[in-house]
């Protein structure tokens, strides 16, 4: 079936059963004259992992960054259309972007811990939010590190520099840092592309666990990663160089990877693209 121009292969029944608090409606994104995304329509199911896949330059990261308005920081960028979060358009005037970014955390491709201690990295967000009591901060740090499956590895070196951790640990620290401010949605932009297979597996296991409590959106070039961990997959692509990115197909990951609706999706995931 189709919803607002998006082929929703998982069917309306399933989408109706799932709570969707985040919806993209006729969204186009521009960088000055360049139209990076065109007419994106998408519902993001709560407490599920949604993966964006597609070739380089198709606008996956641009779309991801819209959910917490990170594109606002790019000079010349502007949007048409809406992203509704709990019924309110996040692009509307007077929308509280700081609060949006608290609710919608982000983890980047390369682990980017602050050059501070492990403890300070996790406590940073809550401190900015005004929490000052050490006992409360201690509890938040422990809880966040536990949720990020890092506590056992760092509990004895909380006051050592975060930069001394391995790449995989640093990435989990970044996830713990995002969790510390109690977000509802976590955005991840290729979070495993700089990690080895073992660290990747730990992050993937962690994301599956976190999906019980959080809504997760992940951009990945690793299609097997999307197949392994995501519940829903959106395939994006551009027709020609310079064209805007569009969503070609969105559906349950198990459908997309066994019997995609759209021939372009099939060509891409089976490696026949181009």
């Amino acid at each position: 079936m189709r919803v607002d121009g998006v082929s929703v292969q998982c069917g309306f029944e399933l989408m109706e059963k799932l709570e969707c608090r985040l919806g993209v409606h006729n969204l186009s994104v521009y960088y000055d004259d360049f139209k990076a995304l065109e007419n994106i329509n998408l519902l993001i199911p709560c407490k599920r992992i949604t993966a964006f896949i597609g070739p380089s330059g198709c606008g996956k990261s641009t779309l991801l960054r819209c959910f917490n308005r990170m594109n606002d920081l790019v000079p010349g960028s502007y949007v048409e259309g809406s992203i509704f979060f709990d019924g309110t358009d996040i692009f509307s005037d007077n929308y509280d972007v700081t609060e949006l970014r608290r609710k919608v955390g982000m983890v980047f491709q390369k682990p980017n811990p602050f050059p501070k201690t492990v403890y300070e990295n996790v406590a940073y967000g809550p401190k900015i939010a005004g929490i000052k009591k050490k006992a409360v901060l201690d509890e938040i740090v422990e809880r966040s590190l536990k949720r990020a499956a890092l506590w056992d590895e760092v509990k004895d070196k909380l006051h050592s520099s975060a930069l001394r951790l391995s790449g995989g640990q640093q990435q989990r620290l970044c996830i713990a840092r995002a969790l510390a401010v109690e977000p509802e949605i976590i955005l991840l932009d290729e979070p495993c592309s700089a990690l080895d297979p073992i660290a990747t597996q730990r992050i993937e296991d962690l994301l599956v666990e976190l999906a019980e409590k959080y809504t997760i959106i992940i951009v990945t070039h690793n299609m097997q990663q999307a197949a392994r961990i995501s519940h829903f997959t959106a395939f994006m692509m551009i027709e020609e160089h310079g064209d805007p990115g569009r969503i070609i197909e969105f559906g349950e990951t198990s459908y997309i990877f066994t019997n995609p609706d759209n021939e372009k999706t099939e060509r891409y995931i089976t490696g026949r693209f181009g």
Binding site: T258, N259, I269, G274
Partner: protein
């Protein structure tokens, strides 16, 4: 559709080649079994029993290659369905081979007894239809075309009817007659199972083409 990446394409073609040889051998085995039964050719029956190891070796080879492709190439969508169906077809053909062996073993136990012309006619008809069904199901796979798959169910109904006619024809007799009758019924049952495998192959091909299991 543009070609697959080269190494994947080569492995796919190799697997398809092996499966094709196995399928031809499977159909040929059923044809030879038919000949053995109709002519009560016990020498041929023994050859068929001894030759079953070839089909068994084929399935091991195909399964190993298929698993290797799954592990190394991580196929998805149509490619995944094709590999899955290839492995299923190999399994069906291997079982068809086993059924031919069973038929031949029963035939050997009928040495010294004659099979009536009426029974032979029915066997001939059942074999003819089962072989036709096997050929048609394998053609559907080769052509990636599921449009004739439903014909197989109708063809199978006819095989089932002949099989039922065997059962209905049973009417006692002395001990020797009963023994012969039981063996004849066993052969009929095995041929009927061969036709069922052809129907199953057709259903697998339908899954490969449309992406949904349809009974």
């Amino acid at each position: 559709m543009p070609p697959l990446r080269k190494s994947f394409q080569e492995r796919f073609e190799e697997l398809e080649r092996d499966l094709n040889i196995m399928c031809n051998k499977g159909v040929e085995t059923v044809e030879r079994t038919r000949k053995a039964v109709l002519n009560q050719d016990f020498e041929l029956a023994r050859e068929i029993i001894d030759g079953d190891d070839d089909l068994d070796a084929f399935i091991i080879q195909i399964e190993e290659k298929g698993i290797e492709v799954l592990a190394l190439q991580a196929p998805v969508a149509i490619d995944l369905r094709r590999i899955f169906v290839m492995l299923r077809i190999a399994m069906h053909i291997e079982r068809v081979g086993d059924l031919c062996v069973n038929i031949c073993k029963v035939l050997l136990s009928l040495k010294g007894y004659s099979i009536s012309p009426n029974v032979k006619d029915n066997f001939s008809e059942m074999f003819k239809r089962a072989i036709e069904m096997l050929r048609q199901s394998l053609e559907s796979f080769k052509n990636k075309d599921s449009s004739h798959v439903s014909d197989l169910t109708q063809m199978d109904d006819k095989v089932d009817r002949i099989h039922r006619a065997f059962l209905e024809g049973v009417n006692g007799g002395d001990r020797e007659e009963v023994e012969v009758t039981v063996r004849v019924l066993m052969i009929a049952r095995f041929v009927e199972r061969i036709a069922d495998h052809a129907v199953d192959i057709g259903e697998d091909v339908k899954y490969m083409v449309i992406g949904r299991f349809v009974e």
